[in-house]
């Protein structure tokens, strides 16, 4: 075992010492020193298991995965947060899944629609109210193409039969009414919510859309939620390659697109974690192949364009090369502009979905190094894809707690951290440059050739903002003209 791995392991052991025995034993399985070769057996983390109570996990729940991630962005269906007021309130337009349409008329993405359960609903059940709610919605929003019923905790606990309500109303309305059993207590994180949502796509909308003709170049863009317009930047590239994007899941998606993706020649999946289930289903059921790709940063983009093109004829392959030729000078210019300011900077990532591994190449394009990375709700297949792209001895963390992140920061001294809103402001207090890597800190897109310049600009402003230097560390004596702080 190398020293790099041993040093990291020693650091992890020290950090774990603060835990009570049981939690320590459990948490030890989720923190590891990276071995890119995959030979060191102690270097694999355990994942997708329950969080320990009381440790302050960053994780969310199945509702967040199903409503917040997968179904919420489908623009022309109404998404009901079915249950008490809170879940829908806190997930209201928080993920910036951009879409075109007239909100409240033919699209509903930025609306918070809830059955607002009261005590009587818990006592007598909420099915009758749900039936009433569906009818009221149909009357007020006649252009809705579907209605999703996204269950919150009490719905499952009191034994409501939302499926039967949905079946009955669907017969009446003749639009999909989709019951989604994504109660927050199910599973161990957002992840099961993705899976449940995928299953309901399969059962209620897939195969039911209208597509007048097909071509040999039809693809579907899967697992891109169009955060800050990411999917649009990706779509632009696929179209420029000569491909025809027949469905976009689920950023800026319409119900119709949810029904036709299986007709594509190739399903292109960006966020593997949240939509691999439905891709596997389409492969088994319809024989639609699928491929993973990565549109973060030029190195990965060039590789991905060639990989995608390899599934098609020479025209597409030539187009991919042409595109690389056309955009490389632009990408080089971005690197030329920003790399000198970012070279050698160390990054710590703790995010979800695809980002803990997919963004590494983009950082490396700018000369930065990801020294620690982890997933809120990853599975072993995510980690298997991560070990080879990180350096030996880098920290791998699964379902990290606030305490662990603070300790890693103190010891590893990253130049910037990329994580979520709950972590953001504690890093600001620490004086450690921070970027939200779920929502792109309200910026974006970060995908594709149009996204990389924005990514580079944002990382530069994060690391090099002069505001960090204004922070006067507690206890450090004041000196005039001295740039205190970092």
């Amino acid at each position: 075992m190398s020293t790099a791995i041993k040093d990291t392991q020693k650091m992890i052991e020290e950090i774990l010492d603060a835990y009570p025995e049981k939690a320590k034993k459990e948490r030890a399985k989720h923190l590891a020193a990276n071995d890119p070769t995959g030979q060191c057996s102690t270097c694999q983390v355990k994942s997708n298991v329950k969080s320990r109570p009381g440790v302050m996990t960053v994780r969310g729940c199945a509702f967040a995965g199903a409503k917040g991630v997968v179904w919420g962005p489908v623009k022309d269906q109404i998404t009901i947060s079915h249950g008490p007021i809170g879940c829908g309130q806190y997930s209201w337009w928080a993920r910036r899944n951009y879409y075109n349409g007239q909100t409240g008329i033919d699209t509903f993405g930025t609306m918070h629609i809830t059955t607002d359960f009261q005590e009587k609903d818990i006592v007598y059940g909420g099915d009758k109210g749900l039936d009433g709610a569906l009818h009221e919605l149909k009357e007020l929003f006649p252009l809705a193409k579907g209605i999703g019923i996204l269950s919150e905790c009490p719905v499952g606990l009191i034994g409501d039969d939302i499926e039967s309500v949905a079946r009955k109303v669907q017969k009446e309305f003749k639009i999909p009414i989709v019951p989604v059993r994504c109660e927050g207590f199910r599973g161990v994180s957002q992840s099961l919510g993705h899976h449940i949502a995928n299953d309901t796509i399969r059962d209620h909308v897939l195969g039911k859309g209208r597509l007048d003709k097909t071509t040999p170049y039809d693809v579907a863009l899967i697992g891109d939620y169009n955060i800050g317009g990411d999917a649009w930047a990706s779509r632009k590239m696929l179209e420029e390659m000569g491909l025809r994007v027949i469905a976009q899941w689920t950023g800026d998606a319409s119900v119709n697109e949810m029904g036709i993706a299986h007709k594509s020649k190739l399903n292109l999946i960006h966020c593997y974690r949240s939509m691999n289930y439905i891709c596997r289903h389409m492969e088994e059921e319809y024989g639609t192949p699928w491929a993973e790709f990565n549109f973060f940063g030029p190195t990965k983009i060039y590789q991905s364009l060639r990989k995608i093109a390899s599934y098609f004829d020479d025209t597409i392959k030539e187009n991919a090369e042409k595109m690389i030729g056309k955009y490389k000078p632009v990408m080089d210019k971005v690197i030329e502009q920003f790399k000198p300011k970012l070279e050698g900077k160390k990054v710590m990532l703790y995010v979800g979905g695809l980002r803990p591994r997919h963004t590494i190449g983009a950082y490396e394009d700018l000369g930065m190094e990801v020294i620690a990375s982890g997933y809120e709700f990853g599975h072993s297949d995510d980690y298997k894809r991560t070990y080879p792209v990180m350096k030996e001895g880098a920290v791998i963390m699964d379902d990290a707690t606030l305490y662990e992140m603070e300790e890693f920061t103190r010891r590893l001294k990253p130049d910037m951290v990329g994580s979520g809103i709950k972590e953001k402001y504690s890093y600001h207090k620490l004086g450690v440059p921070f970027r939200q890597m779920h929502s792109w800190d309200y910026s974006g897109p970060y995908h594709g050739f149009d996204g990389f310049p924005v990514f580079a600009r944002d990382m530069d402003m994060t690391v090099n903002s002069p505001t960090w230097n204004l922070i006067r560390k507690h206890g450090v004596p004041r000196k005039s003209g001295d740039l205190l702080g970092r």
Binding site: T57, D106, E152, C153, G229
Partner: protein
């Protein structure tokens, strides 16, 4: 080197190639014909639509309320060295934290016991025990303030016996205060949760602390998300020379100085002071609807005098100081009288721009009562008052308030209604100005009514919560916000006319 022009989403998607992409994508979207969309859009502005909209009983659309545990967690976070501890599902706590992070742009620590399916079947005892042990070891709190989410409430977890078991097993110290509040999200709203947690904390922490009167006044701000209000209140009590204890003081929790270090517990009411609150001469609440159970408890159990004195607007603030003066026996200092004079001077100077302006408002009950009172004082006309989490008592109080002034004649209060109802009202009976939280910006976009952001949450404008809206200074702050919104709007409207005045 000439720097590249970098276009992010704000500009990028306006470019021709993207407009074309969006147009072409419609081939796969099976969209409605544009005429049909337009027709429905127009229809939603009609009286007919409004009637349908107001007839709905089973669904809320863009409501203005959060849930109980968020209020409980907010309350707990205002006590020093206290970890908010939620018996329930972890997703809820992730949501509460994110929501408050986004409003204050500050960190917030809070614990959940990560209850999942097995807990739903077997009960949450094991989650609670391990949760208490881990939270205490890792985060070393001096109080763990428990609230609950739906799961624990639906299955009926017995918090008190769980905590007792944890103590017996030695997982937490015998003397660690662990107040417990039941805060199901299907009852009330965040203001109810605040009240329940406050009562739980005070009743726990003051047990056995009754001794000689301390001569102080307790101040309970209620679910008040303006850190500036807390600092303002302390300043004003300082000027009055009235010793006081703020319960719970979130000002440092949600507005702490950047010193290059992260503090898990950046401030809050010291627990000793909170424990001594039982010996105060009186308790003043600045909100009624987020403190009613707590005040009832204080009167009944502590035998203490209580009063609700909401200091929003000029006359409310007048009453506030008069009552504080009576309670404390201290006169109102000239300094405060001068502040009043300056605020009133501003109202007088700018009155032509707000007199007769018609307002729509949405928010929590106490905020709305304060705002309506203030609007009528400045000669504004409150018209649509929408309160999702208001009850019958609030409705009555608001209706009475409106009858107190001729400017209230047009005002109508709507409880248990939401911003989609308000949308209909704004189309069928338009007003000049809208007051609401950040989500009201969708009403601004749909109806063109200028939005003044007062309330919670405020996500899309920065730092507003640092500026007080209570007291005379707060009245001046709000008034400045209001009058300048009117003037901004006037500029926008007159920019291509001769009325584009530079002196207004």
């Amino acid at each position: 080197m000439k720097l590249m022009k970098i276009r992010d989403h704000n500009e990028l998607f306006e470019a021709r190639e993207y407009r074309e992409q969006f147009e072409n994508k419609k081939e796969f979207e099976d969209p409605w014909p544009a005429e049909r969309v337009k027709e429905v859009a127009e229809w939603t502005k009609t009286e007919e639509y409004k009637e349908k909209n107001f007839a709905r009983k089973n669904i809320k659309i863009n409501p203005v309320k959060a849930c109980q545990p968020l209020g409980a967690l907010f309350c707990a976070s205002g006590f020093a060295d206290t970890m908010p501890f939620v018996q329930g599902a972890q997703g809820c706590v992730a949501y509460f934290r994110s929501h408050l992070n986004r409003h204050f742009k500050e960190p917030l620590a809070a614990i959940s016991t990560s209850m999942t399916e097995d807990a739903a079947v077997f009960g949450g005892l094991n989650n609670m025990l391990e949760g208490l042990e881990n939270a205490y070891s890792l985060y070393k709190p001096k109080m763990l303030a428990v609230s609950t989410t739906c799961i624990a409430e639906v299955i009926g977890d017995d918090l008190n016996s769980y905590v007792k078991t944890a103590r017996e097993k030695g997982l937490i110290p015998e003397d660690l205060p662990v107040p417990q509040a039941h805060t199901p999200s299907f009852v009330g709203s965040q203001i109810t949760g605040y009240d329940n947690e406050m009562k739980a904390i005070l009743s726990t922490i003051t047990t056995g602390k009754k001794s000689t009167p301390n001569g102080k006044v307790n101040v309970i701000p209620g679910f008040d998300t303006y850190t500036g209000n807390y600092r303002e209140m302390k300043r004003l009590f300082g000027i009055m020379g009235v010793e006081h204890t703020v319960l719970a003081d979130v000002s440092d929790t949600f507005d702490s100085p950047n010193t290059g270090e992260y503090k898990l517990y950046p401030g809050g009411t010291p627990l000793a002071d909170a424990a001594d609150s039982i010996n105060a001469m009186a308790t003043i609440a600045l909100q009624r609807y987020s403190t009613s159970k707590t005040l009832e408890y204080i009167e009944k159990e502590w035998g203490q005098k209580t009063a609700v004195l909401p200091p929003i607007g000029i006359r409310n603030t007048d009453t506030f100081f008069e009552e504080i003066s009576k309670i404390s026996g201290k006169p109102i200092p000239q300094e405060i009288e001068d502040e009043r004079g300056r605020a009133v001077d501003a109202l007088v100077d700018s009155h032509p721009y707000v007199h007769g302006k018609r307002f729509a408002l949405t928010g929590d009950p106490d905020l709305l009562l304060g705002l309506v009172s203030f609007i009528m004082e400045m000669g504004g006309i409150p018209v649509h008052i929408v309160c999702t989490n208001g009850d019958k008592k609030f409705e009555e109080e608001m209706t009475n308030l409106l009858t107190e002034s001729p400017f209230g004649a047009e005002g109508k209060v709507y409880i248990n209604r939401d911003m989609w109802h308000l949308r209909s009202l704004l189309f069928t009976d338009p007003v000049d100005l809208l007051i609401g939280n950040s989500y009201a910006k969708f009403l601004w976009r749909d109806t063109g009514t200028p939005l003044i952001r007062i309330g919670f949450p405020l996500f899309d404008r920065h730092h507003l919560h640092r500026y007080p809206i209570i007291g005379y200074q707060g009245a001046l702050n709000m008034f400045t916000q209001i009058v300048n919104t009117v003037l901004d709007e006037l500029d926008r409207k007159t920019m291509n006319t001769t009325s584009f005045d530079v002196i207004r």
